[in-house]
Symmetry: C2
Subunit: 195 residues, 2 copies
């Protein structure tokens, strides 16, 4: 028991570092960059609030768990933004390899049963092949869009993103997991770009 | 649909403000105060990691949802620390009334079905009368203890907290929801105080 709790808290204390990983996206009021810990909380809340946008095969409680875990590898790798090209490229093989090494180290702090369970949830999120993962990833793409609209452009201004780039980099992935949600969000984004 | 999504995002954008509510407790490395958004994420992760410490009546997915929502009223009221006596007193009737008004306003941004569901979960957490709420509240008390140990004393040093005060203010409530967990955490705290 004591050794197990030591391992559980070694992981929980290490996870605390996610609060110091900064993202490209800011808070809604643009006052500062968002960190990946608070971002993960906000996405879990997105899943609770937007559950009615998920298809009938989606189990929201699994989506919430995936979103709680999905960014932990950033403790070692950092955030890899969609719209910038600094450092590791979003979606590249190098990024995937670095994230796999990070998952080995970070989930490896846990007792073996939890390490296996959490690693599998994270890999499911990364593979984007199940209804739960596809919906979780759609929410992960929606939130920065809503923050950019609310904060006057955010990373779209920083990186000169066009509506067409938004559609191709983000829209198709949101539409795959939450088509009606993307219809509405796209309308909000179009109004922003044209206004 | 459009009006519903507008209400859902009005709530989600308002919830973003929880990332700017600062707590008395610091991050594990003592570099800065923790905010209540990232704290809520960390507690949801605590629930996933420490699920084996819960009694057989506890439904962890409800605990996770409660923990995601539990601090939202702090957007209006601020964090009310256990060990300090500035401003509103922890557990006082004034604090409870202010938090109820905050819940009216913040959950009131949601569509009525979600407002009712979330308000009920938050009230269940506050009432501390169900196995899910008692376990959720135990985790909310454990995390600052672990951060104080890791960071060299934290709020215990700031407010001259004794081991006896820790036992009476925090220990009994952790032990109620997670007795074996408190046995272990108390041992860690004792080692800290005597070291």
């Amino acid at each position: 028991m004591s050794g197990r709790l030591s391992a559980q808290f070694a992981f929980l204390n290490e996870a605390d570092k996610l609060k110091q990983v900064l993202r490209a996206t800011t808070l809604v009021d643009a006052s500062r960059p968002e960190n990946s810990g608070e971002h993960s909380w906000h996405l879990a809340l997105y899943a609770m609030v937007l559950a009615d946008q998920a298809g009938p095969d989606v189990r929201i409680d699994r989506v919430i768990r995936m979103l709680i875990l999905h960014d932990l590898v950033e403790i070692d790798v950092g955030d890899v933004p969609i719209h910038s090209s600094n450092g590791l490229a979003h979606g590249s093989a190098d990024t995937a390899a670095a994230e796999a090494r990070a998952a080995d180290r970070i989930f490896g702090l846990l007792p073996p049963d939890l390490a296996t369970e959490f690693r599998a949830l994270w890999e499911e999120f990364e593979a984007a092949a199940t209804p739960d993962a596809v919906f979780a990833r759609a929410l992960d793409r929606v939130q920065p869009v809503m923050h950019n609209i609310a904060s006057g452009g955010g990373t779209w201004v920083t990186y000169n993103v066009t509506p067409e780039q938004l559609e191709s980099r983000v829209g198709a992935k949101i539409a795959r997991g939450a088509p009606a949600l993307w219809d509405w969000v796209r309308g909000q984004a179009r109004a922003f770009f044209s206004g």
